[in-house]
C-alpha cells in the first residue's frame, strides 16, 4: 500500500483516501462519466461474466455529461449477473452496515472538487472503508483502476453529499411499498 496523495487520488483529486494503489482486480472507466458502468462491469467480472464497457453502455441509458442512474445500473446487473439481484437508489444512511454486509456494492460519492463519482465498496473494517476505484491512478482509459482505503467518517461525508445513492445486491427478494 502507498499513501494516497490528496492532490491526485480519486478522480484526479478530491477523495480523502488514506492509501491508493494500482489494482488489477478493478477495471478502469473508459469515459469521464462511466464510473457506474465500470463498477458494474467489475462486479460482473468478479462473477465470471466478461463484457466490455461499450457492451454494457449499449444496454443502458447513458447520459453524456451526467452518467447513469443507479436504478438502471441495478436493473442491468440483475439481468446479467448469474446469481444475484441488485437494487439501486438512495438508501437511508443508517443502513451502511447492512449493505456492506452484502458487499461488494457501488456507492456514489461527491469529490471535494465537486464531481460525482462511483466506487465499489468491498468492506468496512475497524473504521476503514476498503474501496475499488475505476478512475484509478491515471484516469479514464488507463489499464486498471485502483484499490484504496478511507476513514469511515470521511466516507460518510462523501457518500452523504452523493445523497447516499447506492447499488447493492439483495440476497433475498422481498420488499413492501411504503
Amino acid at each position: 500500500m502507498t499513501p494516497a496523495d490528496a492532490e491526485t487520488s480519486g478522480t484526479g483529486g478530491g477523495l480523502r483516501y488514506l492509501t491508493e494503489e494500482v489494482c488489477p482486480e478493478m477495471v478502469a472507466q473508459e469515459q469521464s462519466h462511466s464510473c457506474q458502468v465500470a463498477c458494474a462491469r467489475q462486479l460482473l467480472i468478479d462473477a465470471g461474466v466478461i463484457m466490455t464497457e461499450t457492451e454494457l453502455a449499449e444496454r443502458i441509458e447513458y447520459h453524456e455529461g451526467s452518467g447513469t442512474d443507479a436504478k438502471d445500473i441495478a436493473a442491468l446487473l440483475t439481468r446479467l449477473h448469474p446469481n444475484d439481484r441488485f437494487m439501486g437508489g438512495t438508501i437511508e444512511p443508517g443502513f451502511l452496515e447492512s449493505v456492506t454486509g452484502v458487499a461488494p456494492w457501488i456507492a456514489s460519492v461527491k469529490t471535494l472538487s465537486g464531481s460525482r463519482h462511483a466506487v465499489i465498496v468491498d468492506k468496512v473494517d475497524n473504521g476503514i472503508v476498503h474501496i475499488r476505484d475505476p478512475w484509478g491512478l491515471f484516469g479514464p482509459g488507463s489499464s486498471t483502476g485502483s484499490r484504496a482505503t478511507m476513514e469511515l467518517g470521511n466516507f460518510h461525508d462523501h457518500w452523504r453529499a452523493g445523497f447516499h445513492l447506492s447499488v447493492f445486491r439483495q440476497r433475498t427478494s422481498q420488499g413492501a411499498q411504503s
Binding site: 462519466h33 437511508e92 444512511p93 465537486g114 464531481s115 460525482r116 452523504r160 445523497f163
Partner: protein, 119 residues
C-alpha cells in the same frame, strides 16, 4: 426554525424524514423496504438530503443521472424549498429531478457533479 420544527414541518407534508445525526436529514417522498441480510433497508427513488455545513445549511437535490443540485441557505429557506419541490413533484408526477428543475429558481446555477477535476 429549530431542527425539530424542520422535521415536523416536513413530516406534516407526508414526507419521510430520517436523521443520521442532529444536523443531517435524509428526506424521502416514498420508499420501499428491501430485505438485505437481516435488515429491512429503506430504499428511495425520490430522496434528497439536508445537512448543516459549517455556518449554513445545504440541501442536495437530485439531477439527471449522477448530477445533483446543491442549494445553500438557512434551515427555514431550505425546508420551504423542499416542501415546494415535493408538492410540485406530487402534483405533476415524473422524476423528482424534474420538479427540482421547475421549482428551484435558476436551477442550472446549482447543478454540480459535471466533468471530474482532471480527465
Amino acid at each position: 426554525m429549530t431542527v425539530a420544527e424542520a422535521k415536523r414541518t416536513l413530516e406534516l407534508e407526508g414526507i419521510y424524514v430520517s436523521m443520521s445525526d442532529r444536523e443531517s436529514f435524509w428526506i424521502a417522498g416514498s420508499f420501499e423496504f428491501v430485505e438485505v441480510g437481516r435488515d429491512n433497508v429503506r430504499l428511495s427513488q425520490d430522496a434528497c438530503v439536508l445537512f448543516r455545513k459549517n455556518d449554513h445549511w445545504q440541501a442536495v437535490l437530485p439531477g439527471l443521472g449522477m448530477l445533483t443540485r446543491e442549494v445553500y441557505g438557512s434551515l427555514d429557506e431550505l425546508v420551504a424549498l423542499i416542501v415546494s419541490v415535493y408538492r410540485h413533484y406530487r402534483q405533476s408526477g415524473g422524476p423528482l429531478y424534474r420538479a427540482v428543475e421547475q421549482v428551484v429558481a435558476d436551477a442550472e446555477r446549482y447543478l454540480v457533479g459535471g466533468v471530474p477535476a482532471r480527465v
